[in-house]
């Protein structure tokens, strides 16, 4: 394989190069002049340029650039999704950080770096690049989570959250590294595609492979906050500033899941029954734990944290179905559900972010009492997001669930589907509980901040998310055909 990067190879790499370049430019701009609006705007502009570049690169795909990176339509699709999410989060950050009594500009720098990590993750088919991307993402996130630490007015406990995430993330990274090391010791390769030849060859040392794959999966499950590796999730979500939680919950999960899918697809590592069994168990436990524990929470961020655990469990059902099915249906299911999940999760975080700011977060369910009568538009958006998370028609979440169930039916995973039904049933309770709060008579003690100019951007982004949620829920044919096309390329 060609290990040199030629000038021609730089073209497909444009999204990654331009993301890095925007980070550098933003850093220089901060050094020249600290201006919150300017930095936020230039970050968003940078991301927008990268989106355009990613679209422009599509005709060049697929291309393997050095052994490390693959630029195919699948990676480009998720690159675009991630960049758009990052831009949305940057807008949300602007109103959230508006009143912070500390320097705010570096947050956007960290955001761009974390996005770079995520883009690298979805483009890698080699352990080295995957791990580099993962660490770039994680290390930037430590900073984002702890960002308001010097603020005297910050009500939350960002440092605790950050340290917790740092320690557990480091532990899970060592799991991943140890798994990689074991695989390397057996096969002598770090590339996903070379691995498949060795894994499928007769006489392979199954014991070591299974051990290595399980270590790898455990590490990845930490990052995806799948039960029983989920303990950090609610605490970190709650302690982190809202934009950082949103980033962690959407881009952090999506990039990791794409990597997981690509690894298991390319290396064909799901052929080991033990791995499938462990994944099935993790899926069952995640769905049940996530949904049951969410029942007991009063904090919105914690509810969303537990619900994200359950949603990762649903996604895992589709991933397991990849092994049992012949066509690309299960891959499409994973891809569509990921898109649906990020839209609705970002929307739910977005509602909280719109009304919150760094010195006062409205993250208790009781804060939203009577929202329907106080701010009907915001309440409608929130209701739509929650119903989507619960998988009710007219929303994208329903189509996502449709895909996952279809993948499960194709793989004949009846037990997992039964768990999905039970889990969704429990899930409805806590989503509806929030909606019920919103339709109760208004409690006049809670006052959200006045809608100022700094919030207009957030409202626009929220409207965009709501629109995507409904359009993709009613007429998703367009996205379906894109996903069908990219899923064959993986």
């Amino acid at each position: 394989m060609n290990t040199q990067i030629t000038a021609q190879d730089l073209v497909p790499l444009l999204p990654i190069i331009l993301t890095s370049a925007s980070a550098v430019i933003v850093m220089l701009l901060i050094a020249i002049k600290r201006n919150h609006a300017l930095i936020c705007a230039s970050s968003i502009a940078g991301l927008a340029i990268v989106v355009v570049a990613a679209f422009a690169v599509v005709p060049e795909s697929p291309q393997q650039i050095s052994p490390l990176l693959i630029i195919d339509s699948y990676s480009l699709f998720f690159t675009i999704v991630i960049l758009m999410l990052a831009a949305c989060i940057a807008v949300f950050s602007f109103n959230y950080l508006y009143n912070l009594d500390d320097d705010v500009e570096e947050f956007y720098l960290l955001l761009l770096l974390a996005t770079l990590g995520a883009v690298v993750m979805v483009s890698s088919n080699h352990f080295i690049s995957a791990f580099l991307g993962l660490e770039t993402l994680s290390i930037s996130l430590y900073g984002m989570i702890a960002y308001p630490v010097h603020s005297k007015e910050a009500v939350k406990f960002p440092l605790e959250a950050s340290v917790k995430y740092l320690v557990l993330s480091a532990v899970s990274s060592t799991f991943i590294l140890f798994g990689i090391a074991l695989l390397y010791a057996q096969t002598g390769t770090l590339s996903f595609s070379d691995l498949s030849a060795v894994l499928t060859s007769p006489g392979a040392n199954t014991g070591i492979f299974v051990m290595a794959l399980l270590l790898l999966s455990a590490g990845m499950a930490f990052k995806l906050s799948l039960a029983p590796f989920h303990m950090w999730t609610p605490d970190v979500y709650e302690g982190a500033p809202l934009p950082a939680s949103a980033f962690l919950a959407t881009i952090g999960k999506a990039a990791m899941f794409v990597l997981l899918l690509r690894f298991f697809m390319v290396s064909k590592a799901l052929q080991f029954e033990a791995v499938v069994a462990v994944f099935s168990l993790i899926a069952v436990v995640s769905i049940l734990f996530g949904n049951v524990l969410a029942l007991l929470q009063d904090n919105l961020k914690r509810i969303l944290a537990y619900s994200s655990i359950a949603h990762m469990g649903y996604l895992l059902i589709a991933l397991i179905a990849v092994h049992y099915s012949t066509g690309t249906m299960a891959i499409e299911a994973v891809s569509f559900y990921l898109v649906a999940y990020v839209v609705m999760t970002l929307g739910a975080f977005g509602v909280a972010t719109v009304v919150s700011s760094s010195e006062k977060e409205f993250d208790f369910v009781s804060d939203y009492q009577g929202l329907f009568w106080r701010e009907p538009w915001l309440a409608t958006a929130f209701t739509a997001m929650l119903l989507s998370l619960a998988g009710i028609p007219l929303t994208v979440g329903f189509i996502g669930k449709f895909y996952v169930i279809l993948a499960g039916v194709e793989g004949a995973l009846w037990v997992l589907l039964a768990v999905l039904v039970v889990g969704s049933g429990i899930g409805i309770y806590y989503y509806l509980r929030i909606i019920y709060r919103m339709i109760m008579p208004a409690d006049h003690q809670v006052q959200f901040r006045e809608t100022g100019l700094n919030r207009i951007g957030s409202y626009v982004v929220l409207s965009f998310l709501l629109l995507s949620l409904l359009v993709l829920g009613v007429y998703p044919a367009f996205l379906m055909s894109i996903i069908e096309a990219i899923s064959t390329s993986i």
Binding site: W373, L387, A390, I392, P393, L394, F398, K401, F402, I405, L406, V409, E410, L417, L420, V421, V422, S424, G425, I428, Y429, L432, R433, Y436, I439, Y475, P476, A477, M480, S481, E484
Partner: protein, 501 residues
């Protein structure tokens, strides 16, 4: 096109009703009634429409429309109306107007949002009655849940959160079972014919093994059986009915329950002739248990709305008995019972709601001797109670009689047991009348400051429903004719497969 209009008018009308609140809080109800009237006129034009002759759709379809929706999975926007659907749609529109009447003066708080939810619920129901693509059907099936949930949760009574939540979780979870069943069907079609299809007519050709067929059929049955409801899936209903506002109860009892019965007739039995044939004894036993058990439980209630709710379950037992007996008389009877019960239960819930509105309690132990205070209301209550207990000459009698006639050919013991339901119905109906309207009036027990007789406007609605019931009882042929061809066709399509057993 007419079907798109019917559904779109309800969806768009809902939004207009909501917005019109900002102009004048009394406008939403007018908008809602106008939308429903327009829909009624549109549907009436279908009455003398000729039957379509077209490939790929067997049945006596009056209108049929098929447009591409999600080509990846062979999902079409496919809707059609035959005699059975048309009857159900007319019932929906009629009771929709009655619900608006029930809410007219009761719902003053956030009226715009109320009529929005009302119209969207009806839109979902109308969609269910016309959908011929199983994905589309499921879509509408779920769409009606949210607005109904909001109606109960916002405008309901003291224990509304619990009741609304229970209603939602029961229907949603069983709905997921149905979704899985639908997807198994579609995937089996993919395996057998090489492409995904959710088309009602194409899915009839799918061959499932006997055990898979039974499992898939059960997915449908449980979902429809919960909505109907039948024992043992009925426990959400008394809570939802008693807590819902009057208009909500009217819609639940009059229309939403019928979607379950419609689903059984349209989908469960035609799609799974073999599995349902095996399942018939169990289903009919459940129906008989529903009839007798719920009639008995109704007798033990003190909350008047809970009582009516249990009687609804009991009457729906007749519907299920008739459907699973699966012969011409029994099916005709089931459809007739659906229509007649739609009117009589709606009227009874309106009466109970009217009483609650006047005296702020639903507890019958505090009531008594109201005949002297509200004679008109008492007469109306007498009429509808007698209708509900199956007095010859009124619609309910025709329906239940035909059901028993048809069921007798399938199972004598179960028919005999079910017939006791008629006796129990007279017991509880007359008992309620005696308790509430007869006896001695005691003004100390209740707050009777606003206990006034029925207004002229209320009377209009009751008289409309009375006329409907008398028509059904005296000249049922006009209704039987409408559904006859549809039902005959469904019977014929499954007959060949059933005989083979």
């Amino acid at each position: 096109m007419i079907l798109i209009f019917v559904i779109a008018i309800l969806f768009i009308g809902g939004i207009l009703a909501w917005l019109s609140e900002f102009i004048n809080p009394k406008l939403p109800r007018v908008v809602a009634v106008i939308c429903l009237l327009v829909n009624g006129v549109l549907l009436l034009t279908l009455l003398d429409a000729p039957t379509l002759v077209q490939d790929g759709i067997d049945g006596d379809w009056l209108v049929h429309l098929k447009a591409s929706w999600l080509p990846r999975f062979g999902i079409y926007f496919q809707v059609g109306v035959d005699g059975l659907s048309l009857l159900m749609l007319l019932l929906t529109v009629f009771l929709g107007i009655i619900s608006c009447g029930a809410a007219w003066n009761e719902i003053v708080d956030r009226a715009g949002f109320f009529y929005f939810n009302l119209l969207w619920t009806l839109a979902g129901v109308a969609g269910v009655f016309v959908a011929l693509d199983l994905f589309l059907f499921f879509f509408f099936w779920e769409v009606m849940l949210i607005p109904m949930y909001l109606i109960i949760a916002i405008w309901g009574h003291e224990n509304k959160n619990y009741a609304a939540m229970k209603f939602f979780i029961f229907t949603q979870v069983t709905g997921l079972l149905m979704l899985i069943s639908i997807l198994v069907l579609a995937y089996s079609h993919y395996q057998q014919f090489g492409y995904f299809s959710f088309d009602y007519f194409e899915l009839k050709n799918v061959q499932l093994g006997s055990s898979l067929g039974m499992a898939v059929m059960l997915g449908f049955f449980i979902s429809f059986g919960t909505k109907l409801p039948t024992v043992p899936f009925h426990t959400w209903l008394p809570d939802a009915h008693s807590q819902a506002p009057t208009a909500g109860s009217v819609m639940l009892a009059g229309i939403l329950l019928k979607t379950g019965a419609y689903g059984l007739i349209r989908f469960t039995l035609p799609l799974f002739p073999e599995a349902t044939a095996t399942f018939t004894p169990i289903a009919m036993t459940l129906a008989a248990i529903s009839i007798v058990y719920c009639a008995k439980v109704a007798f033990a209630q003190t909350d008047i709305k809970r009582l009516i709710a249990y009687t609804s379950v009991s009457h729906m037992g007749f519907v299920m008995l008739g459907i699973f007996a699966w012969n011409a008389q029994a099916l005709q009877g089931a459809v007739m019972t659906m229509l007649a019960h739609g009117l009589s239960a709606a009227a009874l819930f309106m009466l109970a709601g009217g009483l609650q509105h006047r005296i702020h309690t639903r507890d019958m132990s505090n009531m008594g001797g109201f005949w002297t205070k509200v004679p008109l209301m008492s007469v109306v209550a007498l009429f509808f109670s007698i209708a509900a207990l199956g007095m010859p000459g009124l619609g309910n009698f025709v329906g239940e009689f035909l059901v028993l006639l048809g069921a007798f050919r399938v199972s004598v013991p179960l028919t005999v047991i079910s017939a006791f339901g008629l006796i129990l119905a007279s017991v509880y109906s007359l008992w309620v009348l005696q308790k509430v309207f007869q006896g001695k009036y005691d003004s100390g027990k209740i707050d009777d400051a606003s206990l006034v007789d029925l207004s002229r406007q209320e009377m209009i609605f009751y008289i409309a429903m009375m006329l409907g019931l008398v028509w059904m009882g005296m000249y049922p042929q006009s209704f039987l004719d409408m559904s006859a061809t549809t039902l005959d066709h469904l019977l014929q399509s499954t007959e060949a497969l059933r005989v083979g057993l």
